[in-house]
């Protein structure tokens, strides 16, 4: 996060605290996309994500006075968003996720790769992320259970550092790292299988 961005957030915070006209509009303009997307990636359902986003912004507006500047504004908002979404998920049936274990690399007894390994990195690197591959990554990510999904979305897609993700989720850094690694191993395997089927030209 750049210093400039931080300054902008400071200004916005101050205006929100004072209830300045247009402050809410500005908050929405800057963050509704991010918050809605984060909510979507956790809840995977547009109407749930919309309701969650409403709750998140209400909470932010109400609690802006209690926000202490010791963490970045956006990470505070992410935290509110993740909490709101996880509360919504609680009690809901969640059987539409895959078992991550089935996508972990397989090794022989003496710790060697059990199957041959293709290198598809060059093939994928050459072109910018096309729509199809992007959609597949989203789809595979959505199939992860939220335990891994939230960490992966915050760290690798949103680009938060492991420390920031740990703060947002109230987890330790090693726990974040281990979940993140497993999520990446899963996605790597999913992409391998998908590319092997030759759907990307």
């Amino acid at each position: 996060m750049s210093a400039e961005r931080w300054k902008e957030d400071e200004g916005l915070l101050e205006r929100l605290r004072k209830g300045a006209p247009g402050a809410v509009d500005e908050l929405l303009r800057q963050y509704q996309g991010k918050i809605f997307n984060l909510a979507m990636s956790i809840l995977k359902n547009e109407s749930d994500a919309e309701e969650a986003a409403q709750d998140v912004f209400m909470t932010v507006i109400r609690k802006v006075d209690t926000f202490k500047g010791n963490s970045a504004f956006y990470s505070w908002m992410y935290r509110i968003c993740v909490n709101t979404c996880l509360m919504r998920l609680r009690g809901k049936r969640r059987n539409d996720t895959v078992a991550i274990e089935e996508f972990m690399p397989v090794f022989t007894e003496d710790g060697m790769h059990a199957s041959p390994m293709d290198d598809w990195s060059k093939e994928v690197e050459r072109k910018a992320l096309n729509e199809e591959l992007g959609m597949m990554i989203r789809k595979f990510t959505e199939e992860l259970s939220e335990k891994y999904r939230v960490v992966f979305v915050l760290s690798d897609i949103e680009g938060l550092s492991n420390e920031e993700t740990a703060k947002v989720l109230g987890m330790t850094v090693p726990a974040v790292k281990s979940r993140l690694h497993r999520a990446r191993l899963y996605l790597r395997e999913q992409l391998s299988r998908y590319l092997k089927e030759g759907k990307v030209e």
């Binding site: 690197e125 992007g134 990554i137 790597r188």
Partner: protein, 170 residues
Amino acid sequence: MNCKELAYLLADYFDGSMDPRMRAELDGHMAMCEPCMNFAKTYRMTCRKASELRKCIEYKIPDEVRERLASFLVAATEKFPEQMEEYHLQVERERREKVLAFCRAAIEAKLSSMAALLVESHCANCRECKEYFDSVLKTRGLNGPHPEEIQEHVTRLMESLPPDEEFFLA
């Protein structure tokens, strides 16, 4: 180091947090092991494509959701001052009730020793409060609402009690 161990060290290897000796160890293994080299390359590419996704999904939010969100928040924040006022009134009501209870306890000599001491020392310095407490003690009854000043003083007295400590005798 075997392939399995290597696979579980890749995150540190790529985020730069691995110490150079360990790094050399991994490099050495990969130079000799094609599956691991390929595994590492595709692992890194997976991370890279995920972060590219951030730039190109650019937070699409359906227009109608955007509109509903804005109008919901505008409506909610307009109602917000009313709710705050309601809250302040509630706090004020509770404060009055508490002051009343305090004065009643004073009349019935049911104040805790600490609270009684506070009242005594305050009244020694405050003519209004002394007159007020003297008069209610004489008539042994509370006549109507307390003057605003007494309210304030009694509230402050109660606030100087330690938190969670009741002002009346058990």
